[in-house]
């Protein structure tokens, strides 16, 4: 399981994952279409801002914000918790353990392989967003653009690792889908996915800054639409990657302990 052989396997794994996505493209499209939440929230918040802007948000700001939300959600999605829960229950995880490759690497590549197809959907939405709201909200500072790209990677990593941590708990409980539901509910509310973080009461905003959820989706979206300046962007990026590191350590610890309990029933 040397690093070199892992790296050599990556392109092939990615190709296999991508081919799988193309094979199930109809299913994939349904998943994308099911991302209606940003559009519902877009309609709601536009109605709220109909007569007067809310904070700094007028109707066009909400359009930009929630279309960006849709795009970022497409690019940072992961579904490992359900997959792990399923593979533990059916015992198919055993097959992955036999390969000379860490299962987390193969999961990560499979999840990443969905991104090219998701981009195909995200791109037209980006064009529509630009046509509707103009380019004036986009960051002017190239450093912020770099921070944005890194923050997308960070957002995906937090989503993936949180999925991995909760999914691995299935090794103890048999199924961790319910726990994932709780996580998802918190994520929806506190990530900026339903409500832009700025519109929360100040007391709550402090808590949101500390919690990981905002760094999954709200942070990249804000970089894209709010004109965050360089210093603040870098500070938030640091916080995001601190969470990435924390989750990485947690997944390592849980995975190692959990595998000792793995019985591969049914496999």
């Amino acid at each position: 399981m040397s690093l070199r052989s892992t790296v050599r396997a990556l392109p092939t794994l990615f190709r296999v994952g991508f081919a799988e996505m193309v094979a199930y493209r109809a299913e994939m499209l349904v998943w994308v279409l099911a991302t209606t939440m940003p559009l519902i929230m877009l309609a709601l918040w536009s109605a709220v801002a109909h007569d007067a802007p809310v904070g700094r948000f007028d109707q066009a700001d909400f359009v930009a914000y929630f279309l960006a939300c849709f795009i970022v959600r497409q690019l940072t999605g992961a579904w490992l918790a359900w997959q792990l829960s399923f593979e533990v229950r059916t015992g198919t995880l055993a097959m992955r353990l036999l390969r000379p490759l860490h299962p987390m690497v193969s999961y990560a590549v499979e999840n990443l392989a969905a991104i090219p197809l998701r981009m195909v959907v995200a791109f037209p939405v980006a064009v529509i967003a630009l046509l509707l709201t103009g380019a004036s909200r986009l960051p002017h500072d190239p450093v912020v653009w770099v921070v944005f790209l890194v923050s997308l990677a960070g957002g995906w990593l937090i989503t993936f690792l949180a999925n991995a941590a909760i999914g691995t708990l299935a090794l103890w409980t048999g199924s961790s889908v319910k726990l994932m539901d709780v996580w998802l509910a918190l994520y929806m509310v506190f990530s900026g996915y339903l409500i832009p973080v700025e519109l929360f009461p100040p007391a709550l905003r402090g808590a949101i800054e500390v919690l990981p959820f905002r760094y999954q989706i709200g942070f990249p979206v804000e970089l894209l639409t709010r004109g965050v300046h360089r210093g603040e962007a870098l500070r938030l990026l640091l916080a995001q990657w601190a969470w990435v590191g924390l989750f990485l350590l947690a997944v390592r610890a849980i995975w190692r302990r959990g595998l000792e309990r793995f019985a591969a029933y049914g496999g």
Partner: protein, 265 residues
């Protein structure tokens, strides 16, 4: 008449068997209840935030919008407890090819699959819905109008019929797409829009949510009825609409069944 009697007996048998099945998984009941309560409460956060910032949105005050959310929560409970379990089972049947056994039985297949499984213990949200309504009316300092409440009960029936018809239409798609767990997801995520009064949506979206996917008829209209401001014509149209959707779902179901070519054999 004997036909109806026979189906009533079948219905009772089906309910009894699903209750017995459910009693085996008692621990799930508590966990499901807690998780769904948690979801409902977090789903209220946007409502609170919006009305914290504004007195009224699209002509709805906080209390009135709370009624809509109550109706949404009630229908969600019906969906979770009575509709989803059965129809998830159909999809399993289609995928595995075991639908053949259902089709061979000497009773209507749509009836059999629709009553195959009830999970009333998933319906803890019925209580949440009642609490939301009570809170809304107490805050308004009034009672629901008598005529309106009667209309609301009628609308509960039409809304359930609509929900069921939409579900049958979605499931009919499973005959073509097979992998349904994401179709369920698609249905739920569209149904999520019913959480808000339909006036929130503009233009095409409002039109779609009234006529194509009649979410307005399911949550906005009943809430308006409770407030005593639903026009009689809207009530009449809801009944007609539910009838039309029921008929359409039946036609689509029959033609999907005709297309079914058993997966395994």
């Amino acid at each position: 008449m004997s036909g109806i009697g026979r189906y009533w007996r079948l219905f009772r048998v089906q309910v009894r068997s699903s209750v017995l099945l459910g009693l085996q998984y008692r621990a799930d009941f508590v966990l499901d209840g807690v998780v769904s309560l948690f979801w409902t409460l977090t789903a209220l956060v946007p409502l609170f935030t919006v009305f914290h910032l504004r007195q009224s949105v699209a002509g709805w005050t906080f209390e009135e919008a709370l009624l809509v959310t109550g109706w949404f929560t009630l229908l969600e409970a019906i969906l979770e407890g009575a509709i989803n379990p059965s129809l998830t089972a159909v999809v399993e049947h289609i995928r595995k090819g075991t639908l053949d056994f259902v089709l061979l039985k000497p009773a209507d297949a749509q009836f059999l699959v629709s009553t195959a499984r009830f999970e009333p213990w998933r319906s803890t949200n019925v209580v949440t819905a009642l609490v939301l309504w009570i809170v809304a009316f107490v805050r308004m300092g009034r009672l629901p109008s008598a005529w309106g409440s009667a209309a609301a009960v009628l609308l509960l029936l039409t809304a359930t019929a609509l929900l069921y018809s939409l579900w049958i239409l979605t499931v009919s798609a499973a005959f073509y797409v097979v992998k349904i767990d994401n179709l369920t997801n698609l249905f739920n995520s569209i149904f999520d829009a019913a959480r808000w009064p339909v006036e929130v949506f503009r233009g095409v979206m409002r039109w779609v949510f009234t006529f194509i996917i009649p979410l307005a008829l399911m949550t906005t209209f009943p809430a308006q009825a409770m407030l005593g401001r639903l026009p009689l014509t809207a009530l009449a149209w809801s009944v007609v609409g539910a009838g039309v959707f029921g008929w359409l779902a039946r036609r689509v179901w029959l033609s999907s069944i005709a297309h079914y070519t058993s997966a395994s054999s």
